[in-house]
Symmetry: C2
């Protein structure tokens, strides 16, 4: 979900997200797409910046991972010290104007006894993608091999664990590829903008 939209050229998120932030420098790594092709992965956007650029802040499922751990739900990619595995699903987002493309999902393997808990915990965080969009069958999402994610790093799915899929903020990169817009800049997978808000402040109920 969209958390914030800046004025053209501003590059400043609303103060409720961060004081004195600059979205042209404060994301740890960017991806720049021209005509849907990746052309650069800078750590600073000032050489790419234009006064007509509008930035969108989207929620990220990383926000609810502390809550999952606090509820006793293990988070494999944190245990492994790697990035979460992400996959382009065979689900088209609702098109909007010239924008269209596939949903990207993140996957966390969860022991079968804890899947209910994982749904309950993440349902409290709708602004950062909320409850899983799919549980159980990678092939239902068009994912042929969990060991080969489209973004991030592969993690094991062990016996008794269920692959659980959440919507992912990398989705705009899939949209950039499909929509072939002249210029689109996103965060690199796993390199998100970190706000001043505490995870729990994004929770409802």
């Amino acid at each position: 979900p969209v958390l914030d939209v800046t004025d053209p050229g501003a590059g400043q998120p609303a103060a409720r997200w961060a004081e004195d932030a600059d979205l042209r420098m404060d994301v740890p790594r960017y991806r720049v797409y021209e005509q849907g092709e990746l052309v650069d992965e800078p750590t600073d956007l000032r050489c790419w910046w234009r006064d007509d650029l509008v930035t969108f802040l989207l929620g990220c499922s990383f926000t609810f991972e502390r809550a999952l751990a606090a509820a006793g739900v293990p988070v494999r990619h944190l245990e492994c010290g790697c990035n979460v595995p992400m996959y382009r699903a065979n689900r088209q987002c609702h098109p909007a104007g010239q924008f269209h493309g596939a949903l990207v999902v993140s996957m966390r393997p969860i022991p079968g006894d804890l899947v209910s808990r994982a749904v309950q915990v993440t349902s409290r965080y709708p602004a950062v993608h909320g409850a899983p969009v799919h549980i159980g069958d990678p092939s239902a999402l068009g994912i042929r091999d969990l060991a080969r994610p489209d973004y991030g790093d592969a993690v094991d799915v062990r016996p008794g664990e269920v692959p659980v899929f959440w919507a992912c903020g990398v989705t705009p990169q899939s949209v950039a590829l499909a929509s072939r817009v002249p210029l689109m800049i996103t965060h690199a997978p796993g390199h998100m903008f970190v706000t001043d808000r505490r995870d729990e402040e994004l929770a409802v109920g």
Copy 2:
């Protein structure tokens, strides 16, 4: 969960559950166990009744099935016109005095995209077993073959569907077998006492 406990010999549930009910006659079918062995399946308990018998009303997962359907989650055994499949799991209940035995679970196959919804909907009904106790892997519960339930009728699990397991009110029958109490009377699977309360009255939040 326990909804009500009657006084010894009374056989009358609290008025909040039903007016003028008689638990010795109003359950459509009973099972009578002596020393842990099934000895009768009567439709009327008056020939078995004793003045020292205490009755317990437990919630039943059937209560949340209307809510599941209203949320767009299909319920296979209702579509098939059969009883829900039930299995003795390899999970021991917390023992209490001389009572001990395995948890019995009911299983509903849910399309992977709707498992989150099923957890959210049933989480609202904690008094009738609430959220699933396990999602995904029958073998993790010690269930070798979903096609051979211990109680009720088998249903198909189709491609893209996930077997979802809820705690089941048939658990006392498993306890009766294991605890070998002199006399224990339960409802027959699928033959529950129906109260005057509407399903939605059991919901929270």
